[in-house]
């Protein structure tokens, strides 16, 4: 497990407009790994879902609450933690496949989307009181390599 010094940490207020910053951080972190574009997009989408939940269900959009994102890893795989200041919740009811009945529901897809796009999704108490969602993704290296000399991350 890498030292905290090898991780990037982001703190944002509980406002949906900052979801764009979450997406940008996660995608920029992984941009040079040579992963398939789909993997990078889906990682961003899962992080957006986790951060949306943290703001809405965790922090209930309360002023002066924050969401933390911590990210570490390399081309072999990344780990993203998203933590809120909410009361925590029991995620077990949401550990299920969506059924035909769910198809047209307006809500209730966030955790399902995270699970679909990530290799691992887990929930734990955060460093504070809230929920910490942990997302793990092992990207697929792009098939056609550019053939040039690549240096760096």
């Amino acid at each position: 497990m890498p030292q905290p010094a090898d991780q990037v940490e982001l703190r944002i207020p509980s406002q949906l407009r900052y979801l764009a910053v979450v997406d940008a951080v996660v995608q920029a972190f992984a941009a040079d790994f040579g992963w398939e574009a789909d993997d990078i997009n889906n990682l961003g989408t899962a992080a957006i879902e986790a951060a949306s939940n943290a703001m809405e269900h965790g922090n209930r959009f309360a002023e002066n609450t924050n969401v933390w994102l911590r990210m570490r890893g390399d081309a072999g795989g990344v780990e993203v933690e998203i933590e809120d200041q909410g009361p925590g919740f029991d995620h077990r009811p949401y550990e299920r496949e969506l059924t035909a009945d769910d198809l047209l529901k307006l809500r209730g897809r966030g955790i399902f989307i995270m699970r679909s796009f990530m290799d691992e999704v887990s929930f734990a108490p955060g460093q504070g009181h809230g929920t910490c969602v942990r997302l793990v993704k092992h990207g697929h290296i792009k098939a056609e390599q550019s053939g040039g000399t690549s240096t760096g991350a």
């Binding site: 949906l16 789909d38 969506l98 809500r107």
Partner: protein, 112 residues
């Protein structure tokens, strides 16, 4: 998020730009879809070509429009769905209910 509307025959094309993230930022889209239904529009084509991303609450807005229009005998279809949103529609199986087209003319003809 920014939206613009165009009429092509009796099809209303809603061009969405930016991010569809639910919450106040997407009220414009919600309201636009409701207004269209009040005006009696039955054929609505949502152009997602300039949408950078959508989250699950944003999907809810599209589903609400879809269901409401269907109830009134109309339909809501999609055009120019970027790969990132395509993935989301696929895993959520919403691709089985939203008709989606690559070309606008093709999409418009499909309503006929």
């Amino acid at each position: 998020m920014t939206i613009q509307q165009r009429d092509i025959g009796d099809v209303v094309v809603v061009d969405v730009h930016g991010k569809i993230m639910g919450g106040p930022d997407s009220d414009g889209l919600k309201q636009a879809l409701r207004d269209l239904m009040e005006r009696g529009a039955h054929k609505v084509l949502v152009n997602l070509g300039d949408v950078t991303w959508i989250n699950s609450s944003g999907l809810g807005i599209l589903i609400e429009g879809f269901s409401e229009l269907r109830r009134q005998g109309g339909s809501l279809k999609l055009v120019h769905v970027p790969p990132r949103i395509e993935s989301l529609l696929t895993v959520t199986k919403l691709s089985t209910i939203f008709e989606s087209y690559r070309q606008e003319d093709e999409a418009v003809r499909s309503f006929a």
